[in-house]
Symmetry: C2
Subunit: 317 residues, 2 copies
């Protein structure tokens, strides 16, 4: 028997193999089509585009812990932004802005337990949008229309790529089903989201998640929340998360206390809410790589990346 | 005489005033038009879009010093990316990718001396593009065509906004003038770029800058470089920088030594160049805010931002 030469591939080998995959350019064409169609849809609907910000004194506290990502510059601490939530809400203080969107990298340094979910990257692109003086019903309809628009564009522009990667063209959906977390949990137990996503053949809405302070609590039904997620079918899981937003000073403080968000970190934000008031807004954000994954029916969202960004993977570039 | 109550505005006041400016939504419409038209142009020309990466073990060393922006994650150091230069070059190792572009935030933590230039932000958006097996003549023509395409789209889509902000519609240019740094310096002294930009009424090319190692040295004329910048006219200064790229191992090492780039930091990159070779590429990148500034004839590039990112300005958000 010869000498065993089975060795772990080096980081560099793995990186070069990952970026040289034959399927990659086609997956990227789908992703590019999503982005381009989304820009066209947003323009058609009159939303103003903002450029992303990667650094800010405040950022999304998220609903789960991640590794701290802050740097020092100009005598301040800056967080790498985890979403554009506060910037889109604050930008709508401009009297002439009624709706906006941002195509933005989000940096979320996930712990190792999310490395193998198939749904997490430690940086990815989110398309975040927000409307002034609109409610959840408006945003949900907007998103349903956006998905149909994007799918129609892709069917027209790159049908052969879709046939190769997906096995069929993309559907046009009627109204999506609406579920509530508490009802599904009653029926399916704690793993309800995965189970119902696997059974579903169309995207559906999932309402009422207990999470970050900025999602509005139903004033008529304390303890329930006016938020809504899109769950992709066929087991692909969460694809968008959105909500009507808390905008009243005392209510924000109450919710911060409940979920354990530091008032000190958000001192400026609270001051705006207290003195001039935050606008009443609703919006959402969807992950570009996750939509690409769903459309291409990929095992792992990391198949969409050119340079792997799977949580806790060592990288050469 | 009453008590003097002239006080410095607080950071929060300044932030809210900045984002509430009346002109802002119109400036953003111009910027959005640039981005949307660029996506359309890139698609028409067959370039594949890549999503930006904000973190990488290596990033653009730049031609001038900035404050370090690195974080620790997963037992590695990660730099906030200052451009997509290495990622776009490496991605072209994929045999089925011939050209690509990336709309990407760039984080460059400038020192205080760049606060008042009117041309610097410490984070901004760059549109980076790169072609395999193309030369500078191809890229320069591509960029000239892109600018005419973007300007034509803006004239068609938002003529009234242009008239209000710019005073007139955008021009269509013929071939741009081409200058060489060494000739202009001879004539105008060290401040040649500003002087010639102020005199110019159309964009022009500026060739041969001595700078980062990755810009190709002319093999026939050592000490001159196959790079090219776009200089906006009317004093608006640099708008794009690009080059044919160094791709040969020994030549890269020679250039790194000359400009003082650490081989250790770039060990993986050098290994790719040594073992399988880097593709021969050429490309460039233009600043979205700077193009917006030029079109809207703004005093300061920071007038394009919703949240000020002027170097060394304290920020609330």
């Amino acid at each position: 028997m010869g000498l065993q030469t089975l060795t772990e591939p080096t980081v560099l080998d793995a990186t070069l193999r990952h970026l040289s995959r034959t399927a990659l350019p086609k997956v990227l064409q789908v992703q590019q089509g999503i982005v381009r169609a989304t820009h066209a849809f947003m323009f058609k609907k009159g939303l103003t585009q903002l450029m992303p910000l990667m650094l800010s004194p405040i950022t999304d506290p998220l609903n789960h812990g991640v590794v701290d990502a802050t740097i020092g510059y100009a005598d301040q601490r800056w967080s790498l932004t985890k979403s554009m939530i506060f910037h889109k809400q604050l930008a709508l203080l401009n009297p002439a802005l009624d709706s906006l969107y941002i195509v933005s990298p989000n940096v979320r340094l996930e712990f190792a337990d999310r490395a193998a979910t198939g749904r997490h990257l430690f940086e990815f692109t989110q398309i975040d949008f927000e409307f002034k003086n609109k409610d959840r019903f408006f945003v949900m309809e907007f998103m349903e229309e956006l998905v149909n628009f994007v799918f129609r564009c892709l069917n027209e522009e790159i049908p052969e790529v879709l046939l190769e990667l997906r096995g069929e063209l993309l559907p046009q959906y009627e109204k999506w089903a609406v579920h509530r977390t508490e009802k599904l949990e009653e029926t399916y137990g704690p793993d309800y989201e995965r189970i119902v996503s696997e059974q579903a053949t169309e995207p559906f809405w999932l309402l009422n998640h207990r999470r970050e302070f900025y999602d509005k609590e139903d004033p008529k039904k304390p303890g329930t929340y006016l938020n809504y997620d899109v769950i992709w079918p066929e087991g692909f899981g969460e694809g968008l998360s959105g909500a009507e937003r808390e905008n009243e000073y005392q209510q924000i403080r109450k919710r911060m206390a409940e979920v354990g968000t530091s008032e000190e970190t958000f001192a400026h934000y609270l001051e705006v809410a207290r003195t001039q008031g935050l606008p009443r807004t609703a919006g959402g954000g969807f992950g570009v790589e996750r939509m690409t994954r769903f459309i291409c029916r990929l095992q792992d969202v990391d198949e969409v990346t050119v340079f792997s960004r799977k949580p806790f993977t060592t990288a050469a570039f």
